[in-house]
């Protein structure tokens, strides 16, 4: 995770009103930090910089301590995550059958690199070691669905099926 100060997301306007409501329910003590972070993430989906600052002020703890807590626990995210999480298999069988090209095609189609999330928060792209479906290589997984024998040309239809408005036409294999 990079330095939060240069995070591009800072440019987004964060509405702090829901946070104020959360904070009103907690005493200004360090012991409430984690419950507050949990509630805030429930509302915002992740923990934006401004939110963390306001929380630090509320519990009267330095920002760096709050940042330390947030990065310590795996439950907390500093960057927004997509509504859909795509996992691209990079195992041996997928690799030799063009998994690399599939990943490249996904990165191009979504205009993000592996490990990143699209600005519209629709997709997060990740790689995994092996999904254990080598017979269907190359394989990608979107949320809970496994898609086998994908190629750079079939990517678009799969992505479209997960976009908010489009109906889910592509059957998962």
């Amino acid at each position: 995770m990079g330095c939060i100060c240069t995070d591009g997301n800072r440019e987004m306007q964060i509405d702090l009103a829901p946070l104020e409501q959360i904070l009103a329910g907690y005493a200004r003590e360090e012991r409430w930090l984690i419950p507050i972070l949990q509630d805030a993430q429930d509302v915002y989906g992740y923990l934006p910089f401004e939110v963390l600052q306001a929380i630090a002020r509320h519990v009267q703890v330095s920002f760096s301590k709050v940042y330390g807590v947030v990065t310590f626990y795996t439950q907390f995210h500093l960057k927004p995550r997509g509504r859909n999480v795509i996992k691209v298999c990079t195992g041996t069988a997928c690799h030799v059958r063009g998994g690399g090209e599939v990943l490249a095609a996904l990165e191009e189609a979504l205009r993000i690199k592996a490990g990143e999330t699209t600005p519209d928060l629709e997709f997060t792209l990740e790689t995994v070691a092996c999904l254990g479906a080598c017979g269907l290589a190359p394989v990608i997984m979107v949320n809970e669905d496994t898609h086998g024998r994908v190629n750079p040309d079939s990517i678009k239809a799969i992505l479209d099926s997960y976009r908010k408005t489009a109906p889910r036409e592509v059957a998962a294999v």
């Binding site: 012991r31 949990q38 310590f72 626990y73 795996t74 907390f76 041996t92 030799v96 092996c130 080598c134």
Partner: protein, 624 residues
């Protein structure tokens, strides 16, 4: 009337109301633990509600926790007024109308779906075993799990009818804290979370530290992969844990307590919240409980996804709102714990035993199990075993009893290779030690550990190096990074294992693993680090030849590690030359003319198995 007598009478009255003969309406009860729900219990529950509404039936539809038979989920019980409670297993939505039409309406048990019935009340059914007759239950002795799968976890009356809160009433009105501690000490209860520290002694130490404020904490941060007994207890019988905490609080002189539950257990949290509210309404939590002058209340704290928070000092740091990092001990929590105050931390299963000790008396309790390890232990039985599930057995039972008599052995054809006990802090016990009694000392002797009670059965298709690597990767990624042996040492060990599993193993690696492992055991700050090498060291001890095969022959005997599996071979006599395998092979290792037997180039084959899976005549198999 005294509090104890009052509670006993309430229990009796409820029991009578609930007793097999006393219910006036048919009951349909669905097992609604997390595992049951994952298997489809919610859909079954909805279908029952629908069917009941459609037919305008006057029945009670209820829920219960997990009885431990994961294999048979979703489970559904039917009990007619004056009749036995019959359990149906693997119930699908489509079975619901049939069960209701036959059993609920006509009193005819659906024999092909019935699993067992509860024999209490003197019932006897032909053709269906009672629970006591099932192999899975015959050798079990249920204390912590006694109510799981029986009572409605969201009903405090159900718990009281089963004798609940009577121990708490007795303790608060008739016993001094010292007497309570003496009773728990005599019972010989030891911590069920892993290390096995004597519970009574822990209470005594906390009581003995003078302070204006003390705390009790229930450690429900169950994070071991393969262990889920704490979740099951909290989901199936939350009041039992609360009662244990009230008794513990009274014994040490605490007025406040915390239940630290992982956020990944939302159902357990929900049921605990309900239970806490009910206990407060009844006055079992709050001020002057049972008129004793003893004040006590509990709060739930949700974890945020850090395995290390199962370590007590890390857990307390997390409750305080900080990073969950352990600190050196001493001072122990009993002297300086939460916010520097004396604190007593017990695991869920430990606390679930407390009320029973008071109820039965220490003398009854310590008769169960062995001398050094009294009572029972719950194990989560998983892996290559016929009956997966949660089982509670007397300490000192042998692995063989648990795996073969209760668990039904391995599925046909599979041969037992090892049993992994204690998750990432435990070890692998080889097949030849199957008669080992399960108690704290015996497990430690063979390099394993009671741990939280995960028990994974492994067959010959399991690579022990890969298993060791799996657990080490887990602890490595969960290492908090505070102390060097754990942070750096486990990383180096993992690098060596990664090397061994990818054809890069070298002479001297095993000696290095051993040395590193022993240093990490000796020098880590907390038990996460100190026990992290256990899976590696125990497999090195018992399966060294498997490591050597990886290093010297670049071969994985179990055909698991990529690049070291035996190549696939074509049975030339059976091959019809259809060419499907050649088209499927991702690396072009198959060659052959159409309608003539094909061959697989062993050098090129990556052993992915795509060819064997699709071969229409099953002519392809993995070589030895």
């Amino acid at each position: 009337m005294s509090a104890v007598a009052e509670l006993r009478e309430l229990g009796n009255r409820l029991r009578q109301q609930f007793s097999q003969n006393g219910r006036s309406k048919p009951r349909i009860i669905v097992g609604m633990g997390t595992c049951g729900i994952a298997a489809g219990a919610r859909e079954v529950f909805q279908a029952i509600i629908q069917e009941v509404e459609n037919r305008r039936l006057d029945v009670v539809v209820g829920q219960t926790g997990c009885i431990g038979m994961c294999q048979k989920e979703p489970l559904l019980d039917v009990q007619l007024p004056g009749g036995p409670r019959v359990t149906y297993g693997n119930v699908a939505v489509k079975d619901v109308p049939r069960i209701i039409a036959s059993h609920v309406l006509n009193g005819k048990i659906v024999a092909d779906l019935a699993v067992a019935y509860f024999a209490d009340g003197g019932f006897h059914l032909e053709g269906i075993p009672s629970y006591d007759q099932l192999d899975f239950f015959k050798k079990q002795h249920r204390i912590a799990l006694a109510n799981c799968g029986h009572i409605d976890p969201e009903s405090i009356d159900d718990y009281i009818a089963a004798g609940g809160y009577a121990a708490c009433a007795k303790v608060l009105t008739e016993m001094t804290p010292e007497e309570v501690i003496a009773e728990v000490k005599e019972a010989g209860l030891r911590g069920r979370g892993g290390a096995g520290f004597p519970t009574g002694l822990k209470w005594e130490l906390t009581r003995g530290t003078p302070s204006d404020k003390k705390y009790v904490i229930c450690n429900a941060d169950e994070g071991d992969p393969g262990a889920f007994m704490d979740r099951s207890i909290l989901e199936g019988d939350p009041h039992r844990v609360i009662e244990g905490m009230i008794i513990g609080g009274y014994a040490i002189g605490a007025s406040e307590g915390y239940i630290y539950v992982r956020a990944e257990y939302p159902l357990a949290i929900k049921r605990l919240e309900i239970a806490l509210r009910q206990a407060r309404e009844r006055g079992f939590l709050g001020s002057s409980i049972f008129g004793s002058g003893f004040n006590f209340d509990l709060q739930i704290k949700k974890g945020a996804g850090a395995f290390v928070c199962g370590e007590e000092t890390a857990l307390m740091a997390s409750i305080e709102g900080r990073r969950g990092m352990p600190r050196p001990k001493p001072p122990f929590p009993s002297v300086s714990g939460l916010w520097g105050k004396p604190t007593n931390i017990n695991n869920v299963e430990t606390l679930a035993n407390v009320a029973e000790i008071i109820r039965r008396g220490a003398g009854e309790f310590n008769r169960i199990g062995t001398e050094g390890s009294t009572g029972t232990k719950v194990f989560a039985l998983t892996g290559k075993i016929a009956n997966t599930g949660l089982v509670e057995v007397p300490m000192g039972s042998s692995l063989r009893e648990v795996i073969y008599e209760i668990g039904g052995g391995l599925p046909s054809g599979a041969e037992l290779k090892a049993v992994q006990i204690g998750g990432p802090s435990g070890g692998c016990i080889p097949a030849h030690l199957l008669d080992l009694p399960i108690d704290y000392a015996s497990l430690q002797e063979v390099g394993a550990m009671m741990g939280s009670g995960g028990m994974v059965v492994m067959d010959q298709a399991t690579c022990m190096v890969d298993v060791a690597r799996f657990f080490l990767r887990f602890t490595q990624s969960e290492s908090c990074g505070k102390c060097t042996p754990c942070r750096e040492g486990t990383k180096r060990m993992l690098e060596i294992l990664d090397r061994i599993c990818s054809k890069q193993g070298r002479e001297g690696d095993l000696e290095l693993l051993q040395e590193l492992g022993e240093h990490i055991q000796d020098t880590s700050l907390c038990q996460l680090g100190a026990s992290a090498p256990n899976p590696v060291l125990s497999t090195l001890q018992y399966f060294r030849e498997e490591y050597e095969a990886h290093i010297r022959d670049k071969r994985c005997p179990a055909n698991v590690c990529a690049g070291m599996r035996a190549p696939f071979e074509v049975d030339l006599a059976a091959c019809i030359g259809c060419g499907l395998c050649a088209r499927l092979c991702p690396v072009g290792a198959v060659s052959g003319e159409r309608r003539k037997p094909h061959r697989i180039d062993a050098e090129l084959c990556i052993s992915c198995g795509a060819c064997a899976e699709k071969c229409p005549v099953r002519a392809i198999a993995q070589g030895a």
